[in-house]
Amino acid sequence: MTKALTKTLPFFTVMFVVIIAWYIAAYFLNAPQAVALMDPDGPTGFWAVLQACYSMDRPVLPTPDQILSALYDSIFHYPLTSPRNFLLQAAYTAQTAVTGLSIGLAFGIALAAAIVHSRVLDRSVMPWVIGSQTIPILAIAPMVVVALGNIGFTGLAPKAAIVGYLSFFPITVGMVKGLRSPDTMQLDLMRSYNATGAQVFGKLRWPVSMAFLFPSLKVAVALSVTGAIVAELPTGAQVGLGARLLAGSYYGQTMMMWDALLLASMLALGLIFLVRAGEFLLRRQRGGRL
């Protein structure tokens, strides 16, 4: 009990302080506009201004309760098929992120396996894989969507392609490290068993690499949600959280932007949670370590 408390109490204290600071900031940021919009015949004074600050339609900084109630409103007061329902938009983004992530995972692992087994690939491709991490790849997202749209690929495919492209780099780098992590002793043992290349891969390299796969997967997940949102920007703002974000920014709908952001964060945290759960299960199956 006390151990759990020393872990959670600081976090919740910090969160509490953040929320209090949020309300204070909302007062100071919204006050100029709120005062201008107030009914001149109505009540005045600090409390009236405070109330006005926390109940504006288009606040500069909405309060957490406004954000949550707008989210509640969009989820429960509109049918699931309505584009105004944020769950539908989040589902589109989740679909893009997960599809892209699967592509990136499959391609990243395949490339890592090829690099580990081929000296030529290792020498020539690997520096580019590492170097490409210094390049703002995300910047080409809208262009890829437009270019693929020109030859008839619209909808999920170009967006998933971007997410896949973004997420395969950390996975390749992590998996190359992981597949190389067995030491000489272990590899010699496999040789003394007269194991084939496939057996060495399946029984030694692959299991050992799992310790490296999960950290890279977490990086890839964070990238994939960002990538999915950015990929949704140039498609003419139709579907997805990114489109809602852009629409909110065009029409000055502050709450819409914050709700899109909140759901995107929850999506990222949910995916991270799934990765952690997978890691936990594997760890338990292997008796406490990876």
Partner: protein
């Protein structure tokens, strides 16, 4: 035949194939096949030898081959320009639009990225130092920082524009928010890097808290801090470019990419991406150089030299 000679021949034949492509396609095709084969043979040779020269030449040759194949395929197969412009067109666009691109670079990199990066990294570093003595705050802020680094922080861009205006300060704000938490987490972890033995030694010298911090703990934290600086340099560029997709005055790399791709001027888009890639790689390289200077004692640099 050595790998280097093979590579040189491949480059010559490749160039010849490119120049013959317009008028003598059959001959160009033969040249191209021979050049591609020579390049593969050369890569095989180079991968086997273990000299410093071949370690550099190998990726360079591979990159050249890739760009060359892109050029040959795009022109040879008549790939539409709006799908993928050939590298030669991109190089030409880079040359012709140097002025515009320099303006974009100034707006995005020299203003938004540098300011945001300095503010974000500085704040993260100072916060980590400030909460160094409070275990409570460290325990509270670390999960928050981890949570934020999993979030799509660039999404804050439209909100930042609403607060800080259309020009570069709003982009700098996004960059600062993106970079602050990685720096905080890494500095914090770095400050715990020094071992108990070293701490005991400092105590036996009667060193004060500040002395221990400056002489032992900060130097020991440097590898982690540089880790964050390098990670943040990439994040900062991405953040600034993507933030510009949401609105900016009529210059900036993100603005250029989004407007020119909508106008189908893909050569300028690719030229902008080339500039961004160069800026990203060069700043990463400079940071790596500084890292080597500052943390020369770290084991990861011993093996190489």
């Amino acid at each position: 035949m050595s790998g280097e000679a093979c590579a040189a021949l491949a480059v010559l034949l490749g160039l010849a194939a490119r120049f013959l492509l317009a008028n003598h396609q059959a001959l160009s095709g033969i040249f191209a096949i021979v050049a591609a084969a020579l390049s593969l043979v050369s890569l095989n040779f180079l991968a086997k030898s273990d000299t410093r020269q071949s370690r550099i030449l190998c990726p360079v040759l591979f990159g050249l081959t890739l760009i060359w194949a892109w050029e040959m395929l795009v022109i040879g197969l008549n790939v539409p320009f709006i799908l993928l412009p050939p590298p030669s067109a991109i190089a030409l666009a880079l040359y012709n639009n140097a002025g515009i691109l320099a303006g974009d670079f100034d707006q995005t990199f020299l203003h938004a990225v540098l300011a945001g990066y300095a503010i974000g990294c500085g704040t993260g570093f100072l916060t980590a130092l400030a909460i160094d003595r409070s275990l409570f705050l460290q325990r509270g802020l670390t999960p928050l920082a981890n949570m934020v680094s999993a979030m799509p922080v660039v999404g804050i861009a439209p909100i930042a524009i609403e607060w800080f205006g259309f020009d570069w300060p709003s982009k700098a704000a996004v960059v600062a928010l993106m970079t602050v938490f990685p720096m905080l987490v890494n500095t914090q972890a770095g400050l715990h890097e020094a071992g108990a033995m070293e701490h005991d030694l400092m105590r036996s010298y009667g060193a004060s808290y500040l002395r221990t911090l400056f002489k032992l703990r900060l130097p020991a934290a440097m590898p982690m801090i540089f880790n964050a600086l390098k990670l943040n340099s990439t994040l900062a560029l991405i953040g600034a470019v993507v933030a510009e997709f949401f609105g900016t005055p009529t210059r900036g790399m993100g603005f250029r990419i989004s407007t020119e791709s909508a106008r189908m001027n893909l050569d300028i888009v690719w030229a902008t991406i080339t500039v961004a890639a160069l800026a990203g790689s060069i700043s990463f390289g400079l940071l790596a150089l500084c890292e080597r200077r500052v943390t020369f004692w770290h084991p990861s640099f011993h093996k190489r030299s």
